[in-house]
Symmetry: C2
Subunit: 418 residues, 2 copies
Amino acid sequence: MSEAVLGAVADAIDEARLWRLHEEFAAIGGTSKGGVCREALTPEDMTARIKLADLGRELGCTVGVDAIGNMFLRREGRKPDAAPVATGSHLDTQPTGGRFDGAYGVLAGVELFYALRDAGIETERPIEVINFTNEEGGRYAPGVMGSQVFADPDQLKRMLAAKAPDGGVLGGELGVFRQKLGPVEDRPFGTAYRAFVEGHIEQAPLLEETGNTVGVVTGIQGSRKFQIEVIGEEAHAGTMPRRRRKDALIAATHMVQALYRLMEDEEDTIRFTIGRFQAFPGAPSVVPGRVAFTCDFRHPSNELRARLGDQIEGLCKALAGPCGVEVNEYQSSVSVDFHGPMLEAVRRSAARLGVPHMDMYSGAGHDARNMARLCPSAMVFVPCERGISHNEAENAKASDLAAGTRVIAQAVTELALD
Amino acid sequence: MSEAVLGAVADAIDEARLWRLHEEFAAIGGTSKGGVCREALTPEDMTARIKLADLGRELGCTVGVDAIGNMFLRREGRKPDAAPVATGSHLDTQPTGGRFDGAYGVLAGVELFYALRDAGIETERPIEVINFTNEEGGRYAPGVMGSQVFADPDQLKRMLAAKAPDGGVLGGELGVFRQKLGPVEDRPFGTAYRAFVEGHIEQAPLLEETGNTVGVVTGIQGSRKFQIEVIGEEAHAGTMPRRRRKDALIAATHMVQALYRLMEDEEDTIRFTIGRFQAFPGAPSVVPGRVAFTCDFRHPSNELRARLGDQIEGLCKALAGPCGVEVNEYQSSVSVDFHGPMLEAVRRSAARLGVPHMDMYSGAGHDARNMARLCPSAMVFVPCERGISHNEAENAKASDLAAGTRVIAQAVTELALD
């Protein structure tokens, strides 16, 4: 019986429909270079959110939203009080992001609902598709915000007060979104799910290089994020002698070079990135009086992250020269190992479907990291071209997306059948 | 006769009125830190321009504007066809600029008009006070734009098309300004002036340190300005291995460090500044795919500027690593020596007034550099506190401003009496 149902749901996954869904969402905030600019809670993100709610209603789901803006499309089960099984990811993107990062996990869930409907399958447990708020953390810090608050509601107040460089305030924009969306169910935080499965593109080239179609994600490396501000003194570029300057850019470039050296490991397992770096006031003939930059530091070893990350502040202070420097760690997360029985469920689906798969570790952070604190969780990776992501050139194959969705569909449906 | 007139105009210079003028203009775009943000052709700059035109009309001047937006307040002389004597500077500021840079030269001219009126002095030649457009070059490149076009009208078309990072187009904003200003005289470029005298704060600490009140400026050092763009590849901060990255920020910081070393001279006469530096897309978890920065390089020696400036492009290319780099020189000017008889006229005024003065060289560029191509020109510097400029903390003493204005007033009036 169960095997027949699982076969039926996989058969009903429609590769062309799933690709069309990706195209339709990619058009919302689509860029001239084929990427997507749909940062959290911008008008583009709101349009995508409303489209998702409309799709959910068409598919017979109830739509719920919690206080941090996470969206829940719920397909009822025979036992409405049983702990639901959830899947999903995020629709927000980086400022120059791609068409698949995040969107894939949400749209694989929507496609699962289409398949369940077409195959006439009723599950015991309800199934929910979640769209988490502000996974990317580009416009509002920190990232994976929605799942973080979902798992730890004490963070809500601080997150609602988050400010974007463009002047936006998260709480205010959520209010605008709720008004545009119209009446939906108010959802509480911390739902006791039976399980959570997140689909995502790999964002690295391992699947492509090994000829596998699905990655069974065993864990996510931890990360530490820092905001660093160097304070010098503005001066006239044509008159102020070099020896009397307090040039924040000179000091900051010394720090940056030393930080890159500190984080250079022979094995190339450390991921260290200075993604934001800007000198102020930013006029060609003014000596910079201030530089602000970020550090994003990730590694599977909690010990190594603690040891090297703790050196960042001292190193910056030692290289500040005549300037001042402030180092603020604004985000930190330990490495997470996913739940063994959940990994088994994903491997079982892939094997049953004959999809080539491998175990792998995630370098990128994902919402599943936070969900793993609430319920048994897993992730399914699919290949993306050359591993390129956080880039408008991000690309993936329709057949890989569909194969991954079949694996997710079977795993979620199996968990919802008992 | 002439000595009596020169004494009368100097006596009529009113220190309190001149200071009040500075306070009134500093309020237009005034910042909470006591500085001024009045970048060229912003609404604040337009407000200051209209206030200047109103002052000119109150003082019986005709108001003219040329096609690049330079403003001319003209006080008629007994011989309306004689070549006029001009003074002035600019009302635009850096984004975090001070109250005196530029404004002093314009307001000293306005104060001269007050003094001539109060002393009942009629001159043979007309006298004009000029407010040049976009001296600072922070919002629109290049700087000293108004005087450059005035001396070389072939530049007009290119300058009108200049774009600001905030989306403004110079030609369009000039149209808005003309509409707000109402009917004024259309002025041609390249008026054959008898002479031009520009008052300005020193923007360096030499007058203060030597106890002098006026600097007789003998020349202005030449400059070269470069825009450099480093092109790498955006990638995910959590997944892309270091050895496969094309991180534009790593390449750019190597270039910056090498450029600072190249420009480090024992005598500390080279002025080399990287004032604008920004990584794109500027998200904490995206490896920077692009960095844009500027170089501002000044030195009195035309030979040294040529030799070192020509090394910038090669040095950047050698350090680009896996990235590409483009170097574009967008502005270049040779060192200028002011006209001997004009320096004599300024020294004579200072000596007659008993104002302690010294000859000095200007590190900063000024509109007088371009005016010197059209007519005998000179500059009068007054001290500013600790030499700090291009900074909201910029400061000057009312008595120094008045003393400098008396020197300018006598020099201009003497030239206008023959």
